[in-house]
């Protein structure tokens, strides 16, 4: 009888370890991010994600297993992203994927991930096309561009007297995922752009764009630009006397934008979608900021730092529900049972289902009020 039970235990242990990335005492999660390159400040999201999993391990792990993270860099480059994700799936044999800033890279790696069947929770990239239409194994753990684009449009329209809106944007899918829904929302309020100008990535001067916008005399500018180009545009706007509010995207944050332009005056009228439940230095986010500080003491806190921790909390809960023998099938099923989950980090709760993988649908806006980053419900109204 003892021999039979030992044999049974061996079989069960072997079965439990049969799924790629799962051993008797660990679950391997692949985290891919732009840790180098000119969009590398986005990887603060993946750094925060890794810190959160380290913290989970220090709390005892998940059902007795520690989470083992494997970090891969793709420098916000599609080809490198495909190589990184193939390495994680087929060489490192991770149980699931979590991460990814840079929507264009996420779109490039999507076919590889779909084909592999490995569960992928998107921690930062915002293009809605990554998770819609739904596929079997992809879940969006942050608000998608459409949600934020609508929030951007709502905020712009909430400023009394707004009727003339100018748009400056990159010409890629990422920018369209923000500017498109913002424009659609404004169009529903009979506000159509008075001028739309392109400002491509890598350009170092926005004079022509700024002057064209100024000529159109807008009440508000919507800027769907990455970080460096946002700073260049804001500086040029100040130089040429374009004194109107600018609504940016979640691809930028107030703190870093201020650091880049160098003075508060230039960003005083700059607003961004805000995905958090509180100000970055507010009491609700303090525990999460402390997690980051504990595991990455030299890492500065920006608006990207804690953004992936919300979806990490949801993943940990789903993993717990899979029990002692987690499989990818079980994890996907449990992620799909996530309903109205309060992450305590994000402004919106997470809900996933097989027919809707766009998990977070609420966003606020942040701007400088009396020189301090402040979360706003609408124009002039703090949360």
């Amino acid at each position: 009888m003892k021999l039979f039970l030992s044999a049974l235990a061996c079989v069960l242990a072997t079965t439990a370890a049969a799924e790629d990335g799962v051993t008797a005492n660990s679950i391997k999660i692949g985290i891919m991010g732009p840790f180098t390159g000119n969009a590398s400040s986005y990887s603060k999201a993946e750094i925060g994600l890794d810190a959160y999993y380290k913290w989970v391990n220090d709390q005892g792990g998940v059902n007795g297993r520690k989470i083992e993270t494997v970090l891969e860099d793709y420098a916000c480059d599609g080809a490198k992203g495909v190589a990184a994700v193939k390495k994680l799936i087929y060489q490192d044999k991770v149980f699931m994927l979590h991460g990814n800033s840079c929507s264009a890279v996420a779109m490039a790696i999507k076919p590889v991930v779909v084909e592999s069947g490995v569960p992928w929770v998107i921690a930062h990239a915002a293009n809605p096309a990554i998770s819609a239409p739904p596929t079997k194994n992809i879940f969006h753990g942050v608000p998608v561009g459409k949600t934020m684009g609508v929030a951007m449009g709502q905020f712009v329209a909430s400023k009394p007297g707004t009727s003339r809106v100018a748009v400056i944007s990159h010409t890629d899918d990422w920018a369209k995922s923000y500017c498109g829904p913002a424009n659609d929302f404004l169009a529903s309020k009979n506000i159509k752009p008075v001028v739309e100008v392109a400002f491509e990535r890598g350009q170092t001067d926005a004079t022509a764009q700024t002057l064209k916008i100024k000529q159109a005399n807008p009440d508000f500018v919507i800027a769907c630009l990455y970080e460096a180009e946002t700073a260049i545009f804001l500086k040029d706007a100040k130089k040429y006397g374009l004194n109107v509010p600018v609504m940016g995207t979640a691809g930028t944050d107030l703190e870093n934008t201020l650091k880049r332009v160098g003075d508060l005056d230039t960003v005083a009228n700059y607003y961004v979608p805000h995905m958090y439940a509180d100000n970055l230095d507010g009491p609700r986010l303090k525990p999460f900021a402390e997690i980051l500080k504990k595991y990455y003491p030299n890492e500065s806190l920006t608006a990207f730092s804690l953004i992936a921790m919300g979806s990490a909390a949801a993943v940990v809960e789903a993993l717990k529900r899979t029990g002692r023998e987690p499989t990818r099938e079980k994890l996907i099923a449990e992620l799909d049972r996530t309903k109205d989950f309060d992450t305590h980090v994000l402004a919106g709760h997470i809900t996933w289902s097989p027919t809707d993988r766009d998990g977070v649908k609420d966003v606020a806006v942040a701007g400088f009020v009396k020189g301090k980053p402040t979360v706003l419900k609408s124009w002039g109204k703090p949360l």
Binding site: T36, A208, K239
Partner: protein
């Protein structure tokens, strides 16, 4: 007024392109090497200034001077340590070597500052000069002044001094120059040093205006090539004029045609010039006697 403002801004931007094109031209004319890693020398100049100003706490102008000196040393080291060694090989080896050291410089910058887009302190942050409705920004004033002084000094040195005449002699015929006792190897090293110094000055001027990242040099390389092509390969005056025309063209295209075309203006210039006037505005056709 709109057109004038665009042109003024274009001239400021074009002055940087002119400087980069001139620095590439110096290396090309002095050594016949087209430096495909030149954009990364611009980036290196900018990063050295950042390092000295922000991390070492030195004043900007002292840092700028030190950066130029360091880049001269780097330029000379590249020539002696890398280019000179492959002189006997095929010409394509120069191009590959230049691309390779450019990527190495970029890699070093990534290794050190990888995850940040870095802001430089705003040293040119004085109030703009207003001429009616025309805005002459502090950046533009500094760029015009710096590039103007530099170009006058460069052309005076090259065309009016005895050292410049020696340079011209080597540019025209290395063998002839060697026969009259000029040290051609030292001349090549000096040309790389001067080229790297001019690139560094470009980086120093750009750094406080834009943000720093390791890929910064890539766009300046293309703009430099376009300006060189427009002005005529090997023509110093042509490179300067090509840079200024390109800067203004970008702004006017953005202002009057479409802002979507700004990014490809440099490529259009290269295509059009090579197709319609391969020697550029000031280049001379090389007659081959057979």
């Amino acid at each position: 007024m709109f057109a004038l403002q665009l042109a003024l801004s274009g001239l400021a931007q074009g002055a940087i392109y002119a400087l980069v094109a001139l620095s590439m031209c110096v290396v090309y004319r002095g050594t016949t090497v087209v430096n495909f890693g030149h954009g990364d020398l611009v980036m290196a100049g900018a990063f050295v200034v950042y390092l000295l100003v922000v991390l070492a706490g030195l004043p900007f102008y002292a840092s700028a001077a030190l950066a130029v000196v360091l880049l001269v040393v780097l330029g000379v080291a590249i020539e002696i340590g890398l280019i000179e060694r492959i002189k006997a090989g095929p010409h394509v080896g120069f191009a590959l070597m230049c691309i390779a050291f450019g990527y190495v410089l970029r890699g070093i910058a990534r290794a050190v500052w990888g995850r940040e887009v870095l802001p430089m302190p705003r040293v040119f942050d004085f109030p703009p000069l207003l001429i009616g409705e025309l805005v002459l920004t502090g950046d533009a004033i500094v760029i015009f002044a710096a590039v103007g002084v530099l170009l006058v000094a460069f052309f005076a040195l090259f065309y009016r001094s005895s050292a410049g005449r020696v340079m011209q002699a080597v540019c025209q015929s290395e063998r002839g120059a060697a026969l009259v006792g000029i040290n051609v190897r030292a001349f090549h090293a000096a040309m790389w040093g001067v080229g790297a110094a001019l690139a560094a000055i470009g980086g120093v001027l750009v750094a406080p205006i834009t943000l720093l990242h390791p890929g910064l040099g890539a766009s300046f390389l293309i703009k430099g090539f376009a300006a060189m092509t427009l002005g005529g390969f090997g023509s110093f005056g042509g490179a300067v004029l090509g840079g200024l025309i390109l800067g203004v063209a970008e702004q006017l295209v953005g202002g009057y045609v479409s802002t979507k075309l700004i990014d490809i203006t440099a490529y259009l210039v290269i295509i059009l010039v090579l197709a319609l006037r391969p020697n550029g505005l000031f280049g001379r056709a090389i007659a081959e006697k057979v």
